[in-house]
Amino acid sequence: MDATRPTLAVWKFASCDGCQLTLLDCEDELLTLAGEVEIAHFLEASDEVAPGPYDVSLVEGSITTPDDAERIRHVREVSGTLITIGACATAGGVQALRNFADVREFASLVYASPEYVATLDTSTPISAHVRVDFELQGCPIDRRQLLEVLSAFLMGRKPNISQHPVCFECKRRGNVCVMVAHGTPCLGPITHAGCGAICPAYGRGCYGCFGPSPNWSDGRPNTRGLVPWLDMTPDETERVLSTFNVAAFREEDHELRQPDTRGTDDDPPE
């Protein structure tokens, strides 16, 4: 043990493992990182677990079981800085679709003996249970953003994570706007940057996997302003907002059903 190196722990709740895999996907940086920090608790990568407390904890996944609701309190107690990584940990993930359905009916459909399955009625983000020091959005998170956040916390500075919507990255990448040029529905204007505007670069509209972008005057994206431009049926609009960040976009979706109080700057295209 090297007492001078900060310790890093990685924790998993309900999730697909993709965000913690992002750490192992830092192929060029992994061994350097392992020299800078002591990876003290990372079950996906090591069976040696050093006792806490840990300087920095990365938490993947959402809270969906009574045991996990207890376990996250323990993780908070043994963590100096707690950073959530990914849509599950920051917004409940795609499994939060249960929040708007009957979870018992879900269990009876998927499992022949649902009584063996312990589950809560909702899938909730980590911040609904304990204090979170930083949330990194994305389904999955972006490797470069993860390295920036880790570097920042290890250096004791604020992470330089843009709060802009995807459009900014899209312009910087030199993409042609898929919505303006081809009429392809795109959630880029209301979605948090970080992916590098991959979807428009591949000729598809952004599908919102990084969650809502907060960088507008009231701290929320102007979903109401965007929707008429999408040229989608209400059913299609609800579905496109109800995927990997359903609980975060749900607020937007709910607002769409209320009388117009915010207005829009532009008229939709004819």
Binding site: D17, D28, E44, V110
Partner: protein
């Protein structure tokens, strides 16, 4: 000597597996009474919330079942939906799917061989610790892994949850010029892959074998990835739509995964050992040669040697990827139209961990009324428990901590992906 008739062993949280699980072993005297893999991956209910969604959505949604093998989910989903709609995707579009899948096999197998499995053979708690002793070895593994990720990033936009896959094909297909740098990366990867087989073949393998029926896809001419016909070493053969007639899943109290068996109750196993044993004669030439050099016979029935088979499969995937790039002609359009149609569709492909089955029932508008997903790990769980029962019985002279370590190591042979057990490990050994 203390009287020790009964004992229990417990591994509280299995490490170096994807997802979460535990193992419980109960020993009565010299008899192993019970071996259980406890899956405590929280249920996420994909099959339930897919109902009512559009037939265009499963490739993106089911990718989120597993961050390690999202392409497998995308491929099985696409095939099942296209089957329901009566559309066949072939030619260059199918070649591009196979190329993308090669990228995932390279990435996933390199991850398992070097970062999860190698520390077991060489006696280190993690690849990071192993890298302090042999940095060049782990750097080779990371280079291979990166080569696989580069294939996925080029074709899919990103390595985890690629964005470029859709029902009918792709959103955008690459020009031959875009694929050229990929070929250069893969030529270097082929050297690393061949070195991986030679290194893995020189490891020490415990003497252990099983005789489960093996299930894998087979094709007429190529090693199976994105398509094929399910066949078993027991002589069964069926098409994708016969899967549910030949495989039954039952829930067990200790697991959120379901246990699968063949309909006559036979245990079976899917994955690299099964694939290799049923398709050895369809390996491309370099992979076939290096498999022979590594001493692999017609079949491989020692799970500890799965590390060699995975290494051979990396060679196969790199070789295939190079072939696909050299023969690539861009398709006329990035995807074929797939108009919705009421019906039932079945899709099977070879995920890195084994056969992955999807089924969707669609209404006339293309809305999903039933979704069913059977991932490899839940198919293998009963056979893994059976192997562990015999493995433990032969090692009862070990003390609890040595036996626990041996069991954990045995489990990692199967590269269990617990996240995928939509429907995995702590080790407890209870000696009485």
């Amino acid at each position: 000597m203390t009287h020790r008739n009964e004992r229990t062993l417990s591994v509280g949280a299995l490490a170096r597996v994807e997802g979460e699980g535990a193992m419980y072993v109960r020993v009565d005297g010299s008899t192993v009474q019970e071996v259980r893999l406890d899956i405590y991956e929280p249920p996420r209910f994909f099959e339930a919330f897919l109902r009512g969604r559009s037939y265009t959505e499963p490739p993106d949604i089911t990718a989120r079942i597993c961050g390690i093998c999202p392409v497998a989910y995308q491929m099985s989903a696409c095939r099942a939906i296209e089957d329901a709609c009566g559309v066949t995707v072939d030619g260059s579009l199918n070649d591009l799917r196979r190329l993308l899948y090669c990228g995932e096999w390279i990435e996933s197998h390199a991850l398992h061989i070097y970062l999860l499995h190698a520390p077991d053979f060489l006696g280190y708690p993690s690849a990071i610790d192993l890298a302090r002793a042999d940095r060049a070895l782990i750097e080779r593994g990371l280079r291979l892994k990166k080569a696989g990720n580069t294939v996925m990033e080029t074709l899919g936009g990103r390595a985890i949850h690629p964005v470029n896959v859709r029902v009918g094909g792709f959103y955008r297909t690459p020009s031959p010029t875009e694929l050229r740098p990929l070929a250069e990366t893969l030529r270097h990867a082929l050297d690393d892959a061949l070195a991986t087989v030679r290194w893995a073949a020189g490891l020490d393998f415990p003497d252990f074998s099983h005789d489960h029926e093996y299930l894998a896809l087979t094709t007429d001419d190529r090693y199976p990835l994105e398509s094929g016909t399910p066949r078993t070493t027991g002589g069964r053969s069926f098409t994708a739509d016969g899967f549910e007639h030949h495989v039954v899943e039952t829930p067990v109290p200790h697991s959120t995964a379901l246990h699968a068996r063949l309909t006559d109750g036979a245990l079976y196993m899917t994955g690299p050992l099964a694939r290799f044993s049923l398709n050895r004669d369809r390996l491309p030439p370099i992979a076939a040669q290096v498999a022979a050099d590594a001493g692999l016979g017609a079949e491989c029935r020692n799970p500890f040697q799965s590390i060699v088979v995975r290494a051979v499969e990396i060679v196969c995937a790199v070789e295939e990827a190079l072939r696909l790039i050299s023969t690539y002609r861009p398709p006329e359009r990035p995807h074929v139209p797939v108009p919705p149609k009421a019906g039932v569709g079945h899709g099977v492909t070879e995920a890195p961990r084994g056969l992955l089955y999807h089924r969707y029932d669609l209404d006339a508008q293309g809305r999903i009324t039933i979704a069913r997903i059977v991932p490899p790990t839940s198919q293998n769980q009963a056979a893994i428990e059976d192997d562990l029962r015999r493995f433990v019985a032969a090692r009862l002279d070990l003390d609890d901590s040595a036996l626990t370590r041996a069991c954990e190591r045995a489990i990692r042979n199967y590269d269990p992906c617990i996240s995928c057990s939509t429907h995995f490990l702590d080790l407890t050994v209870d000696r009485r």
